[in-house]
Subunit: 447 residues, 2 copies
């Protein structure tokens, strides 16, 4: 808008401006934009950061997604300055930052924090990072709901230290959560409204040990900006904000995509060669094992192939197409499971649908393949064998594509993890078996 500033201008000011100019300019600049400049010009990071006030440095470090890079940014500064920066950072960000560090590095950071924050971070560190407790922040505002709106506004005006968020939480003297008030309701209610009148007592909460994926589903269902985290006794422990949820949703999707593609859930575009090889080789070996299983079916029919060599040409089509159909079916089922769209009510219908789709695909692709191979070989029986094997394999591919992820889910194994391997094993083994088996039966008509 009006005050827009290019990133080159900003960079120039950060490097060469007086402290006053810098302070004036950065008030309205989003830390994510400063972080972009740092990423573009890694050599000037220290020079750029040196001129920034501590709270801005803290926000920039918080913006950085990668915990290793967060630590590298922090380490640019002297111990004294680190202390000041840590003081400006939120405790849940510090917890994430030090969560992956070595024990001595972790302790060194903790020792730079004041007692209260240190205890807070140490407590946050006890929660599993993939649970509600691991993603919550302890910086929220809790109130008693005995005041009017006007008194509450005055209280907020005097207590701006905490990063005021979009809800105030009403607790009793034992810190048990009793209700929630939204800032929206505060600003739209007359000054003399009693806070109790705008307090919603039917609060949706998450338990500290709930899996982050379940937490994300609640946020999505209700469209909340924040949710309170409680223990079994409804003591308020912290709050989770929507921006962490967006990251979790993105992360869970990436994990599904990775697993469906046969790589570890943690591999990313910027993983090292070693990490990538370690992520991929185990899956390749599992696949090799199943490929050998399929090959042993072929081996069993070598006598048939020796007499009709064209079978070798056509057989990868039958298995490959089955693999494709099975993958289609499992893709839809795995994603549906992952989004929680599969229920007791619709499970049977979806199974029947997959069988029906397999039947239709089997008929269509079966006829095309039958006609094609009949013309290619000039033998109607050859066409019949190919088409029939194709048809059977397509139906079974869809049945496998439905049942394998559903059964894995029942055994609490991530269906994205292993479905692909199982489904293609089924389509390869059965594809070869149907095709070469039928060919052996009809051998007299094929020679």
């Amino acid at each position: 808008m009006i005050d827009t500033i290019t990133s080159d201008e900003l960079k120039d000011i950060l490097l060469n401006g007086t402290p006053e100019t810098i302070k004036k300019v950065i008030t309205n600049i989003h830390p994510a934009d400063i972080l972009d400049i740092l990423h573009e010009d890694e050599d000037s990071i220290k020079a750029l950061m040196d001129n920034l006030p501590n709270d801005v440095v803290a926000s920039i470090i918080e913006e950085e997604d990668d915990e290793d890079d967060q630590y590298d940014l922090l380490k640019l500064f002297s111990d004294a300055k680190q202390k000041e920066i840590l003081d400006e950072m939120s405790n849940d960000e510090i917890t994430d930052l030090i969560g992956e560090l070595e024990e001595d590095e972790k302790q060194a950071i903790l020792d730079k924090m004041d007692k209260e924050d240190k205890e807070d971070v140490e407590r946050l560190l006890t929660f599993d990072p993939d649970t509600a407790g691991g993603i919550m922040t302890t910086e929220y505002i809790s109130i008693r709901a005995r005041n009017t709106v006007e008194k509450t506004l005055k209280f907020l005006q005097e207590n701006t230290e905490e990063d005021t968020t979009y809800y105030l939480y009403v607790v009793d003297p034992q810190n048990i959560l009793k209700g929630v008030v939204s800032l929206r309701d505060i600003v739209t209610s007359s000054f003399d409204t009693a806070m109790l009148d705008i307090t919603n007592t039917n609060v949706k909460t998450v338990l500290y040990n709930e899996d982050q994926e379940e937490v994300a589903k609640k946020f999505q269902k209700y469209g909340f900006i924040m949710m309170p985290v409680v223990d079994e006794m409804d003591h308020l422990l912290g709050v989770i904000e929507f921006d962490d949820i967006i990251d979790i949703i993105q992360e869970e999707s990436t994990e599904d995509i990775n697993l469906l593609g046969g790589v570890n859930s943690e591999e990313r575009l910027d993983s090292s060669v070693g990490e990538s090889v370690k992520s991929r080789i185990p899956w390749l070996i599992v696949n090799l094992f199943t490929a050998v299983m399929a090959a042993s079916v072929v081996s069993f029919f070598e006598g048939t192939i020796a007499q009709v060599v064209t079978l070798a040409t056509v057989m990868p089509i039958v298995t490959g197409m089955g693999g494709n159909a099975g993958t289609q079916s499992l893709t839809i089922v795995v994603r549906g499971l992952s989004l929680g769209e599969m229920s007791k009510e619709n499970a049977t219908w979806i199974m029947l649908k997959e069988v029906a789709v397999g039947f239709c695909s089997g008929v269509i692709i079966g006829i095309i393949v039958a006609l094609g191979s009949m013309l290619f070989e000039g033998n109607p029986v050859f066409g019949l064998v190919t088409g029939l094997a194709m048809f059977l394999n397509m139906i079974l591919a869809n049945i496998a594509g439905y049942f394998i992820p559903v059964i894995l889910e029942k055994f609490h194994i991530d269906p994205a993890l292993a479905s692909g391997v199982f489904v293609t094993t089924v389509t390869d083994v059965l594809g070869f078996f149907f095709f070469l088996g039928l060919a052996t039966v009809f051998l007299p008509y094929l020679i």
Copy 2:
């Protein structure tokens, strides 16, 4: 919490309660929870909905994700009641609801709306649904920033009609966006603070024609709850809220997963048999075509296979493993592209990494396959041929897995869409060619 009510209790009250009880109970119930009850018991939908006030019915319809189901819910009611419900719904929700309807149904809904809302919806309908204009809402609060905080609070207290959101937008008399004020800043500033002092003039905006995926990336980068949508002249057109962004992120991931799995981006778990067949058959036919291409390579070498039938047993292993390695590599690259993680700076490094990973995998899997097939056939040359073909195919698989999505992206084709087909074509065709070609060269040692 304290006021928690089970869904059976709620259902009972909705069906049998007096209007007063119902009104009292539902104040604190989230519409998403009522929608759950409707989904569980489709037969009672009308009976359950009949006792609810219009604004609650409107929120329930808005909660429903599926536009067809939204329309079905609305149609349960008489024309007069529909009019009242539509009056309570937000215009962007109505726009989404009628966007997919037939022209006459669309017109019937529009005719039930009052003039102003109707014009608003008609204007919203002109935006592409996948752009910022298509997802924005026009219900936001714009102000002139000449007042104090206290006057603004009074203004908000008197204007609670509009669903007050978390930011107020400052515009000039021509409705040109000048700045933004957050509710947080309003409640934490003293009553006599000038609004200008807490107005941020460096507003991040999105253009009305920006793709929703780009909009989602901006939300993620900055962690915003809302963003204003403007035209080329900075006129404020509407705002986008974070909950729509979560849906978009989920949707874009689902589309990627679908395309990587070889089904259309629109197919879902609850698609009909007809929709699923239409989604999958085209891809199966494309795959059939590439499978025939690969088979024609095999066909070319039938003479060799006729002399060493075991080649037919081993060849699917070579191509299959290449396909797996290529899929791994393209999975990481496609997801990276989709998350915007690939840049000019890291592209070369990632390419070299993929080649290196292909080399390592090729060596490891090549040696295993070579030893295995040597023992199986009792012939070191057979092992050499298999291992070498495996090695070459793995390296090429990774090169294809990198370059194919990157090139498709350059041509503005969604890399998730077609990469899989191309990569497996490469690994099949070249896998057969390397293996059977080498076997032909070394034929005298294999017989």
